[in-house]
Amino acid sequence: MGDLLSTMASSVSGMSAQAARLRLVSENIANADTPGYRRKLVPFEQIVDGAGAVRTGAVHLDTSSLERVYEPSHPMAGPDGYYESSNVNLMIEIADAREAQRSYEANLRMFDQARQMTSSLLELLRR
């Protein structure tokens, strides 16, 4: 029983980490056209002392250069007609979201399996 419960704890930590990642992806996509926005990234860290669970570290910003867009009529455009847009690449964000979804589903599958195993274990008591 203890192992099954720690299975569920690991899966839950995985799901919450993937959900946090997915939230940042959606924030990035929402701000894809915000001038001066830098995409947010979150690292995954293994919790060593616990049951091998995972957690998200501190959110940091992507320091790669912002995309320069030529649009002289833009309110933030400089004297040369360029303004700095965000450094969000939609293709990367979509791929990241798909990967997060895949990992989330795998964690959910493991959680469901542990739950089934627990209930079939408890079924032994019913007869």
Binding site: M1, D3, L4, S6, T7, M8, S10, S11, S13, G14, A17, Q18, R21, P43, F44, E45, Q46, A51, G52, A53, V54, E99, A100, R102, S103, A106, N107, R109, M110, F111, Q113, A114, Q116, M117, S120, L121, E123, L124, R127
Partner: protein, 132 residues
């Protein structure tokens, strides 16, 4: 109360081994995107059982934490292994497909153990003159 019946104990140990191994697999899946994480696994029940039986036959002491017919706790050895699949650029060696196949295997073993346990109990009850 502890029944000293071989098949019940073996079924119990198989169930314990399956849930312990499932816990390791769940950790692998939770860390499927953690940079530098190495996939881990436990020896299969058959392997550790065979090894223990061999050790018993050669009358050497059973290694601690190993699965034996009579031991209470059967944790098994957790080992790191890089042979599961290609390593991704961030140093992670977890392959989700591989882990899900292992999880299905573990589920099958757990169901098998519980099935054997309940059927054996049914036989015992029948032997005691009560049907179900």
């Amino acid at each position: 109360m502890k029944f000293d019946i071989g098949i019940l104990q073996m079924a119990q140990n198989l169930a314990v081994h399956a849930s312990a191994r499932q816990s390791v697999i769940a950790q692998n899946i939770a860390n499927a995107d953690t940079p530098g994480y190495k996939a881990r696994d436990m020896a299969t029940f058959a392997d550790s059982f065979r090894e223990t039986a061999y050790m018993r036959a050669s009358s050497s002491p059973v290694r601690a934490g190993h699965i034996a017919l009579g031991t209470e706790r059967s944790g098994g050895d957790i080992f790191e292994s890089a042979e599961f699949g290609a390593e991704s650029p961030n140093g992670n060696t977890v392959s989700l497909e591989d882990q899900l196949v292992r999880a299905a295997d573990v589920k099958y073993q757990h169901d098998l153990a519980l099935g054997i346990y309940s059927k054996s109990m049914n036989i015992l009850r029948t032997g005691m003159g009560r049907i179900r």
